[in-house]
């Protein structure tokens, strides 16, 4: 009887067949097909012609791509720490069992369930010049209005604000889940050890949720490098490409200019950047842990 359980049979593979079908057709195949496309001169209707690494050469020599990479990196460098810090702050403040904190948790998380269209619509109402919320506020204060969506520098900032507002719920919830895993007797031991609130935060709480902080940072790096909808709908990458992220560049190249080969080449570059950034983040935090 026991023997039959141990014996490996080909028929057992049938159990994973449904998953493998979806995994191979929707993830593995497109990944490799994308790599192959990036080595071809191809458009959306025509055939493909192998041209080696020429698409990559074109991508790297395009100043618009360089600007998009720079914009995206700046965006990630500012938005990810903000999301981690704000998420952590909110979770620490709302890690209570009162009704008010339950309500506020729901409130802060509610933005996450909105679609990007709604989010950008809401923030356009805030930022739009003339009779937007901030414009009215500036008028009331007697200040000169700022073209948040049409001024270089401010446009990427505005996209960032909308993004942080939209994405804050998930980090907060992940941190809350981690905080609730910390045994309460650790805090009691710390109270008996005469630890100040700051010492409790830095020596007990943060080390206890370190792995969640790393997880949230990596998830957010991966997500924010893929910035697209907010930038397209709020500023369309402008003015003068100052808020154009890499994905918008890929979209424009592939679907506006119909240069699918070059678009996939840029996609592969983005893939490598995200992989590298996530690995560096993981490496840095795990090294700190060993020290």
């Amino acid at each position: 009887m026991a023997e039959s359980y141990r014996r490996s049979r080909w028929s057992n593979a049938l159990f994973i067949l449904p998953y493998m079908t979806v995994f191979l057709s929707l993830l593995v195949f497109p990944l490799f097909w994308g790599m192959w496309l990036s080595l071809n001169k191809s458009d959306l209707f025509g055939g493909a012609r192998f041209i080696g690494l020429k698409n990559y050469y074109r991508v790297f020599s395009d100043p618009v791509f360089g600007q998009a990479v720079w914009n995206t990196v700046i965006f990630v460098l500012v938005s990810v720490p903000t999301l981690v810090a704000l998420g952590l702050f909110l979770s620490l403040a709302l890690n209570k069992t009162t009704r008010a904190s339950s309500l506020l948790r729901g409130l802060f998380f509610s933005s996450t369930v909105l679609s990007v269209t709604i989010v950008t619509l809401i923030w356009r109402f805030v930022f739009i010049p003339g009779d937007g919320l901030l414009a009215l506020l500036f008028d009331k204060m007697g200040w000169e209005q700022i073209g948040f969506l049409s001024t270089e520098g401010w446009s990427l900032f505005s996209v960032g604000v909308a993004t942080v507002w939209w994405c804050l719920g998930l980090p907060m919830m992940l941190f809350l889940a981690a905080l609730q895993q910390i045994p309460s007797d650790l805090y009691e031991a710390a109270a008996l050890d005469n630890a100040s609130r700051w010492r409790v935060l830095t020596r007990i709480t943060l080390p206890s949720i370190k792995s969640t902080i790393v997880l949230v940072a990596i998830v957010q790096i991966v997500m924010q490098f893929q910035l697209f909808g907010q930038a397209q709908l709020m500023t369309n990458g402008g003015p003068a490409g100052s808020s154009r992220p890499i994905v918008l560049y890929i979209f424009d190249t592939s679907f506006i200019r119909w240069d699918v080969g070059m678009g996939t080449a840029a996609s592969e570059v983005l893939f490598l950047i995200i992989l590298l950034a996530a690995m560096v983040q993981y490496w840095v935090t795990s090294r700190k842990g060993e020290a």
């Binding site: 007797d185 009691e188 031991a189 008996l192 050890d193 005469n194 630890a195 100040s196």
Partner: protein, 370 residues
């Protein structure tokens, strides 16, 4: 360092639910006191109130003459060992022990010296660089005790610290705790529901039941002269057997030592327990510990016990059974007993070791020898 602890009329309630009601207790400096009681009796709550982890609704607590119930936990001068040890998982053993001293801004050299000294006392100097996750249950227990020792507290508080250890380790750690107390001479309060821990460790046991202190006494006082029926039944393994008293033949027996009682299932019993005239007979019982019973020859005088379960403990055998009247009784026989379940044996009990409880549960014992 050791200090007295005075608990005066302390009360604790969670909303409408009172968990401790008007508790008063004085603990001498250097004394080892055990709070003993069933789950939910409030013993851990009382310990946590001394530690400052629970607020005091009414009453006061003084340590070494200083009122501490209004101070935060870290300012009370006590150290606590938790049931789950509560070691900081991301710190090494040495860092765990040093954390409290660092918070008190103790000099670094002094911290190192205290940690080293405590580690040597507890024979764990080789573990100082390890994290708690790399330690066994017993080693974690030592670290938790070490963390308490380095603080040189006025009093040590132990909240069921042995309950997560296996049986062998528990008895060894119990012995080590007793030795540690002898060496340090500190005031220690130990909470447990395990009477063996209470009996072996305590100078005095505080038996708690239903929000109140039921009895305070030395282990032998608690065992031999329980103040109430609850204490008599809770302390001692196996539990004391109880037989209903149906009448008092005379409050003083013919030899003037105690009352003669009419006991259901045992007939007339001449005890050495004097009873007052106000004795509440309704619901009164006579208690006998199994070690005060013995199996007698089939023809001799005694009571019949139909044995239902035989428990062989090596040096003695416990016979669980029923009297002819149906009351349950536990009788002790020698370790070599050949009695089997289903058999009927005759047994007798020592008249001088009986306990009498009135209808309210209050206990009466043989007069103490002068």
């Amino acid at each position: 360092m050791s200090a007295t602890i005075d608990i005066n009329s302390v009360t604790k309630a969670y909303g409408a639910l009172t968990v401790l009601d008007d508790i008063s207790l004085s603990i001498e400096a250097g004394e080892f006191v055990v709070f003993l009681g069933p789950s939910g009796c409030g013993k851990s709550t009382l310990l946590r109130m001394i530690a400052g982890l629970e607020s005091v609704d009414k009453g006061t607590i003084h340590i070494g003459g200083e009122r501490i119930d209004t101070l935060p936990p870290g300012k009370r001068g006590v150290a606590m060992v938790f049931q789950t040890y509560a070691l900081y998982p991301h710190m090494t053993v040495a860092q765990n022990m040093a954390f409290g001293l660092e918070n008190l801004k103790v000099d670094k050299a002094e911290i190192d010296s205290r940690v080293q000294s405590a580690a040597e006392t507890l024979e764990m100097a080789h573990l100082l660089d390890r994290r708690p996750t790399k330690l066994s249950g017993g080693q974690r227990q030592r670290v938790a005790i070490g963390r308490a020792i380095v603080k040189e507290p006025k009093a040590f508080l132990f909240d069921e610290p042995l309950s997560n250890l296996d049986a062998a380790l528990r008895s060894r750690t119990r012995l080590e705790l007793a030795q540690l107390h002898q060496r340090l001479g500190s005031t220690m309060i130990f909470v447990t529901h395990d009477q063996v821990e209470a009996m072996t460790l305590a100078h005095r046991i505080v038996v708690m039941h239903d929000k109140k202190i039921e009895q305070i006494g030395t282990p032998m006082e608690i065992y031999q002269r329980p103040a109430t029926r609850f204490v008599a039944e809770f302390v001692g393994s196996p539990a004391m057997s109880m037989m209903p008293i149906t009448g008092i033949v005379s409050a003083q027996s013919s030899d003037q030592k105690g009352a003669t009682l009419e006991v259901e299932g045992a007939g007339m019993v001449a005890t050495q327990v004097p009873l007052p005239a106000s004795f509440a007979l309704d619901g009164a019982t006579m208690g006998v510990r199994s070690e005060d019973t013995h199996v007698v020859q089939p023809g001799a005088d005694g009571l019949n016990l139909t044995v239902t379960v035989v428990e062989r403990l090596g040096e003695r055998t416990l016979l669980y059974g029923k009297l002819d009247t149906g009351f349950e009784m536990i009788v002790e026989d020698s370790g070599r007993s050949t009695v089997r379940a289903g058999e009927t044996v005759k047994f007798d009990f020592d008249r001088s070791a009986l306990h009498v409880f009135d209808g309210t549960g209050r206990a009466y014992h043989m007069a103490e020898e002068a």
